[in-house]
């Protein structure tokens, strides 16, 4: 049975920026921020009402409308538990999107790999389409 090819010592470090680190940080910061926002939102709601969260409907928006609406609420300083919770969900939803966007830029600018620039662009366009689904 063929064995995997091995060589001794740690992996060689590549010059330029490290795509793995960027993708890793985008994902880690996105998820951590989202969990923090949801936790603060629920904690605040609990202090106000005695329950972690109050039931309400998001309506029939597409994902993009939802994200833009909640970002605008936070931008204008309309802070309340519901806004923090919604914004936490929006940040979570945008995390994989930001990761794909970063990958597209990397393959196009840093690696100049046409094939993978096209692949990541396709993923980005399909994701954007899904965000606009009504």
């Amino acid at each position: 049975m063929p064995e995997p090819k091995i060589k001794q010592g740690p992996a060689e470090s590549r010059p330029g920026f490290d795509m793995n680190l960027i993708v890793g940080y985008v994902l880690a910061v996105g998820v951590a921020s989202s969990i923090l926002l949801l936790t603060i939102g629920m904690g605040w709601n609990w202090l106000q009402t005695g329950h972690l969260v109050t039931d309400y409907d998001l309506g029939h928006n597409n994902m993009l409308q939802f994200v833009v609406r909640e970002t605008r609420e936070v931008w204008h300083g309309h802070l309340q538990p519901r806004v923090l919770i919604n914004f936490g969900i929006a940040v979570l939803m945008m995390t994989p999107f930001a990761r794909v966007l970063a990958s597209t830029v990397y393959f196009a600018v840093e690696e100049r790999n046409l094939k993978y620039t096209l692949f990541t662009t396709f993923v980005l366009l399909t994701l954007s389409y899904s965000l606009l689904l009504q």
Binding site: K7, V31, G59, I89
Partner: protein, 275 residues
């Protein structure tokens, strides 16, 4: 349903999901439907929680340079389209169908996890032309073995076709279906186990987002469910992952896999008897 109870159930689901290696969604859906929540709402909230758990664990693995970004980028083109199709099918499907489909898929994931430890890694000797064209190869530093392992993938065309269907399953049922993805990476594409697991995590996040968008547009995502469930499942998964590292016992994993087999049986039974 009481949000505090939801929070506790989600911690348990995240814990059992991590201990069994199947992810929290497969525990969450049977548990919440058992408490009377409509299955489509539960699927919608589960797919949002999948974004959180998969992106969280992918973040750590990517930084360790184990994940193969090119394999992930290539395959997620197919899983993502599949997830949109699957989520649309779910909206049109009847509840009974979803219960039975969930039970059957859970059994398939369960079987994949049971056989996975016995799969021997077979390194690719000669790569097919298409996979070579896709540049699907790489290397990672194995800390346990203290060496860099180089590998080449194979049969990317089959991997892509199968991944589309795994995407359909993920979108249809609101789960990550990581066990099935890993099986395809291992058996069809010849990726080393560590690479297949970590790359699968990366793909799951984007796949779940595509599906979640469909559910949000349908008005099925309720913040009152999402907030406690996402936070709870992430906490449960963190506890589960840390516990698993300490235990490293196959008997423990078998116990949690047995729980999942019971859940699968229960979902099929409820589907057949009309919920």
């Amino acid at each position: 349903m009481n949000p505090e109870l939801l929070f506790v159930i989600s911690i348990v689901a995240g814990f059992v999901g991590a201990m069994s290696g199947m992810g929290g969604g497969v525990v969450l859906i049977p548990a919440l439907t058992f408490f009377g929540l409509p299955i489509k709402e539960v699927i919608a909230v589960s797919i949002v929680s999948v974004v959180a758990t998969s992106s969280g664990s992918a973040a750590a693995y990517v930084r360790d340079h184990i994940t193969n970004l090119k394999v992930g980028m290539f395959l997620e083109m197919f899983t993502m389209v599949g997830a949109i199709v699957g989520a649309k099918l779910s909206l049109a499907a009847g509840q009974q169908f979803l219960f039975i489909a969930f039970g059957l898929v859970l059994f398939a994931c369960w079987a994949a996890l049971v056989i996975q430890p016995d799969i021997e890694y077979v390194a690719t000797v000669s790569q097919d032309r298409f996979t070579r064209w896709l540049e699907l190869e790489g290397s990672y530093y194995d800390y346990a073995a203290d060496r860099t392992i180089e590998y080449k993938a194979r049969r990317a065309h089959w991997g892509a076709a199968l991944m589309f269907w795994v995407g359909v399953i993920a979108g249809l049922l609101g789960i990550g279906a990581g066990a099935l993805k890993v099986l395809i990476h291992d058996l069809v594409m010849g990726l080393p186990p560590k690479v297949s697991t970590t790359t699968s995590n990366l793909i799951i996040g984007v796949t779940a987002l595509a599906g979640a968008s469909v559910y949000l547009a349908a008005g099925l995502i309720r913040p009152a469910l999402v907030a406690p469930i996402v936070v709870g499942i992430v906490i449960g998964a963190l506890i589960g992952t840390r516990t698993l590292v300490r235990l490293q016992n196959r008997a423990v994993r078998r116990f949690f896999l047995a729980i999942l087999a019971l859940l699968a049986t229960e979902m099929i039974y409820r589907g057949l008897k009309g919920i």
